[in-house]
Point group: D3
Chain length 135, copies 6
Amino acid sequence: MRVKVSRKAHFNAAHRLYNPEWDMDKNQSVFGLCNNPNYHGHNYELIVSVTGDIDPVTGYVMDMKLLKDLIKAEVEEAFDHKNLNVEVPEFQTLNPTAENIAVVIYNKLKPHLDSSQELEVVLYETPRNFVTYTG
Amino acid sequence: MRVKVSRKAHFNAAHRLYNPEWDMDKNQSVFGLCNNPNYHGHNYELIVSVTGDIDPVTGYVMDMKLLKDLIKAEVEEAFDHKNLNVEVPEFQTLNPTAENIAVVIYNKLKPHLDSSQELEVVLYETPRNFVTYTG
Amino acid sequence: MRVKVSRKAHFNAAHRLYNPEWDMDKNQSVFGLCNNPNYHGHNYELIVSVTGDIDPVTGYVMDMKLLKDLIKAEVEEAFDHKNLNVEVPEFQTLNPTAENIAVVIYNKLKPHLDSSQELEVVLYETPRNFVTYTG
Amino acid sequence: MRVKVSRKAHFNAAHRLYNPEWDMDKNQSVFGLCNNPNYHGHNYELIVSVTGDIDPVTGYVMDMKLLKDLIKAEVEEAFDHKNLNVEVPEFQTLNPTAENIAVVIYNKLKPHLDSSQELEVVLYETPRNFVTYTG
Amino acid sequence: MRVKVSRKAHFNAAHRLYNPEWDMDKNQSVFGLCNNPNYHGHNYELIVSVTGDIDPVTGYVMDMKLLKDLIKAEVEEAFDHKNLNVEVPEFQTLNPTAENIAVVIYNKLKPHLDSSQELEVVLYETPRNFVTYTG
Amino acid sequence: MRVKVSRKAHFNAAHRLYNPEWDMDKNQSVFGLCNNPNYHGHNYELIVSVTGDIDPVTGYVMDMKLLKDLIKAEVEEAFDHKNLNVEVPEFQTLNPTAENIAVVIYNKLKPHLDSSQELEVVLYETPRNFVTYTG
């Protein structure tokens, strides 16, 4: 009996979208307002889901408290109230689009899970824009 | 790295459910209140998702602004503040159930996407009723 | 100890905004898309609040079940899956704007409450537009 | 044309997590606050989805009213305002974790569906914790 | 410049509504399902609002972190994952209706605020039922 | 018949909280993570409400389209995708707390309303923190 368990979390951060190999005009035409060199920001809403077998002894796929703590340690402490471009190592050379942030979060969480478990990361950049990555 | 990017949109419309090959009694027993010949209406909430590879140059699967504009051109301008049965050509001969509306939206959007991209349409008819179509 | 108790409800309806004393051009310039003569529709979300003293015997200001039943009898049965302009008597001569619908709901509910109780009606026409009427 | 139709429902219940084969200390260390022998409770939000072909005669995969009634008969009447551990037979010997509740709901609903239809159960234990079971 | 600052919080609890001076039949007829002697439960959502002057030095009416910590100390630690009737002293002799819970929360928080500040407590018992108390 | 009409809007921005008359340690102890000199950001959700009499000719207190356009011109174009501290003149010498942002929005909108109309500004900094200003 494989079940997917999901946990919502939250972090606030500043970011800017641009490609350092392009000039300002090209960045402006591709990224528009998101290219503001003074940064803008978001309340990112995150849903992390782990799919695995129900442990018949506990009735849990994974203790939600452990999943909450894992998200806090790996994602919230690294990203919350940060400037993603300036302060988060993964985005020194990677454009912090929602797509890339979701992939980075996936890669930070996956090693902490059992190899039999599948991981899904959903990241809301705004209430109307979100992305999903499953590896 | 395939990622699903999703965009929420919105339109209001009037509709009526009925099968013109049935008499009023049969329509009433199958469609109940939804068969009201004077129409009723909904705030339809729409989530359009496109799954594809992240473009390493932009960090985007698809520019959300383009997806927003595509939904506006193909769906909102065609359906918003309209009577679906009376004013939308696709529903002249097709019952505008949530299922059929989702299929019509899918068929309107799909030709505008890259053939390597997958499309998913989620349509909320009310906050408690919604449908999902993936082709 | 006066407490406000609130209950959410829901109805779907079609409507059209127009002033019969104006010609089509004037109606179009004032009401725009909302003037569509074929109607459009909404999922109206309603929050009805009653403020009164806590009854020390029950701990209730008003039994929420009674409030739910009152909303069902007076509002949902009268408006749900209806065409407001065509089928609801109050809107035969009154433009069914959100403002006017809220006033009509208030006037239908108020006589059923204790004279010592205050009534507030909040009506969402869309998730982004709503009105509040307190008499 | 296979479409997934989804219906949200709701029930409130009390429960307690524990394994009767463990002593109190072990239960406390695994289940923490959820092990409170006096019970705690939740507003469970449920999303039941049925995937099947659109019936060309009605435009429905399944009449949402029938799905609503099925959820009411099989889930709400059995679980709403109940103590899951004490009053619901399935949890006499099964720990009422969100995972196990979702599996029980799935098993109660599945026999009522057409064999060609797929079922998905999503259960929110809190706004931040939820599980998904697809059989 | 008086501003109202609001903070959302959450707790889960079991409860039962009844009046010990009434017999079982009377309790059943007034409180219905909520009278279940085995308890049921809710995810209570709480919004605490403090109205006061903006401190020109900080730009705050009140540090939201302090408000969050106050709610945690006074409300969440006292009520979360508890049986309100059995484990919370205030409800030994007071029926834990939403109205009474809101008043108890108000009375626990008010002494910690500045006398120049006003307090409002909004308590959601379910997503459709909520109460507001302002002293 | 005075009715309050409300419109939701949205903007994303970066900001930093600090008092330039304090040293870094004092700013850190008061504003914590919000004092990050590299900025962080939010999806601000805004609800603007105007209370006035229903115009008997239109049935409107105020055309929601005009209110939407006013919010766009005065708030969204000034704040969206901006760094509040660096790019918005009002916050050159005013700490951009939620309280102060709400007051600035109020002061920008009020002159555009009829003197008989009242204005209320609700600003969500996060889904759990929000402020209300009514002048």
